[in-house]
């Protein structure tokens, strides 16, 4: 039996707890939630009654290390210390699923990788988008050869995330998941990167192509070029007034696939407006990601999205930041990128 500790916001933890109760995944029957790390670690998380409940990772690792075997960290409001605490967890022999958005750099991931190898524990770079049903379906078709060689990937991800965050934070904490998807679907990291940013509030005043600043945020556009001609265009916005939108198109040499909200909307007529409703809720990938993590632990193998794949995506995300801050392209040189 794998004892799981879950760390995140209330809704995320509750979602994970509910997923783990499903009986259609064999890996879940061999696991149990024994610890919760959440600011509101009470009944709102729907955790088992006998689970350890704490409000921060440091307390969990420092005082309750014996209560769990594996740690899942999907959100933290202590961004500056989460990497250190996760290193401590690994050092205590805990398997770790850490959301990619919580790792600040490739070097930070290197430290986690090294620690996990020393302890012989599983390290998974979390990106539940990989496991969403539509995306997983497309990946399956790609693997089966139905689409041929991937040629062009187009992703739109629009959200309403509240106040704009600084551009670098937008890339490293949000857009990185799409960058990771691109690397995963092409099976490699890009050889060329060009990125730009804009803000609806400031572009009118600037009068020129936006030079991103720490205040200039809310929208990032990443253009990736892969060896052998592959290409990806990804735009990420946090500026919708409400709701969210997602669209992915993958053009291959012999076929094309689309996972597209526009296509999958239902209509609701009520009051004086027509509403578009999406049947598939977001975060459907959480259960499949947990399944992969737990199965990897049981089978004593690397998970599909391991530390190294996460590291590669983090390096790409850093290069995206350099490109948009400098307004120059970045080309890959060995394992890293240089502005050109």
């Amino acid at each position: 039996m794998i004892r799981l500790a879950l760390a995140g916001g209330v809704e995320q933890v509750r979602h994970h707890v509910r997923e783990l109760k499903r009986r259609d995944r064999p890996a879940f029957t061999n696991s149990e939630v024994t610890a919760i790390v959440c600011r509101d670690a009470g009944d709102a998380c729907e955790s088992p009654a006998n689970a350890t409940r704490v409000s921060d990772l440091a307390t969990l690792i420092g005082q309750h290390s014996g209560d769990f075997d594996a740690l899942v960290v999907v959100q933290s409001d202590q961004a500056t210390t989460v990497e250190t605490q996760c290193l401590e967890a690994i050092g205590a022999g805990k398997h770790l699923l850490l959301d990619l958005s919580l790792v600040t750099s490739g070097r930070a991931m290197d430290r986690l990788i090294q620690a996990a190898e020393q302890q012989d524990v599983r390290l998974m770079a979390g990106n539940s988008h990989r496991y969403e049903p539509g995306i997983a379906e497309i990946r399956g078709c790609l693997d089966e050869g139905r689409l041929g060689i991937p040629g062009a990937l187009r992703i739109h991800r629009w959200n309403a995330e509240g106040p704009s965050s600084a551009t670098r934070a937008l890339v490293m904490s949000r857009a990185i998941q799409e960058l990771d998807l691109a690397c995963w679907l092409f099976g490699t990291t890009p050889s060329e990167i060009f990125a730009c940013a804009a803000s609806g509030a400031t572009s009118a005043a600037s009068g020129s192509a936006s030079a991103p600043t720490s205040e200039n945020a809310g929208y990032v556009q990443s253009h990736l070029g892969f060896r052998d001609g592959g290409m990806a265009l990804i735009d990420y916005s946090s500026q919708l007034p409400r709701g969210d939108y997602y669209s992915l198109t993958l053009v291959g040499s012999s076929g094309t696939a689309h996972a597209d909200d526009h296509h999958n909307m239902q209509l609701q007529y009520s009051g004086d407006s027509i509403r578009a409703l999406r049947t598939e809720p977001r975060d459907r990938g959480v259960g499949a990601q947990l399944d992969e993590f737990l199965t990897a632990i049981q089978e004593q193998r690397s998970p599909a999205s391991d530390g190294r794949s996460g590291r590669a995506s983090l390096v790409v995300a850093s290069a995206v930041c350099w490109s948009l801050e400098s307004r120059r392209a970045a080309h890959r040189r060995g394992a890293d990128y240089e502005l050109v």
């Binding site: 062009a152 730009c196 609806g200 070029g225 001609g229 265009l233 735009d235 040499s253 909200d261």
Partner: protein
Amino acid sequence: MNLSKVNSPFRFAVLSVVKHAYVPMGVAAHPRFDPVVVADDPSMPDWIHERNQQFADQYNVPYITDVEKAIRDYDVQVAVVSSEAERHCDLSNRAVRAGLHVIQDKPMATNVSECDRLVEQIQRSGVKFVLWNRNYLPAILHAQETIRSGAIGRPHAIHLDFFFAKDSGPPKGSRRPGDPPIDWLTRQIEAHADGSDGGVGRDAMGELQVEGIYPLGYLKCLLGSKVQRVFARTASHVHQVHADNEVDDLATVTLELEDGALGSLCIGRIGAASHPDIGEIKVHVLGDKGGLVFTEARPEVSVYYRGQPATEFRNRRVANENDFLLVDQFAEAIDQDGETSLDAQAGRDICATVAAAIESGRTGMPVDVN
């Protein structure tokens, strides 16, 4: 929109109609435009003369192998140019020098310097010019109206997807060792049968050049912004003929616009198997108050029946008045000395954007648009 008043019709000459004939047919369908002659240069190869004659016969007008003579003798006011792209500007220039207004098929030209000469000639002469476009499709008009209403606030990003699901000969990788490369012109002549010969001519052209004008025309129509700098990736990914002739059938372009806004273009001839219909053609716009997602093909109806040919599109566009409205607006521009929906300068700017994107795809560097 204002429908132009019915005045005396414009007599027009069709100066070469070697590819899909929808441009001169679209013009001829308007009540104010009368085709009176088809003309071309005598030195053209037989296949061109055959196609010109075929069109002339269809409209019961003469075919003259002397462009200037046709213009002189047939009292025309307008020229409709639908030759190979490499002759577009030459024929248009000659028509403009003769004092004719011009409706020209896309693309504007195969190089920017030819566009510059035409723009200059048009400015000197004062005639009207329009580059054929799709800016009057119902979805584009609807998107334009929505943006202008302020529903999404001030746009700061626009994304144009123009993936069209057509083949262009055999797939990439199908050439056997020892086989010669596919000749571009030969392939384009074959493509006339299904109307996918927009790139016909001696000079091979990628899809950025052949079709880029449509989505970049949407950009002009919806935002009115000029492109200042681009970063592009281009590839011959799907079709053997594109690989053999080293032109793109797939491209992605980041667009930095003059007012600080950003854009992107994804374009490609992705193969008939890659979509149940004409392709994935969409417009996404983000503003400071919201976003828009429009499918260019709508409204459409779906029709399926037993025995339906595999090559027949299941979805049919309806309420499409693009041709009529475009030509009608052109007539109005002539009547009232107004601007056309996509004039020569705009066409030139699009050509320059495409040229910069091709350069960027080659170098892997951002390129300023000339």
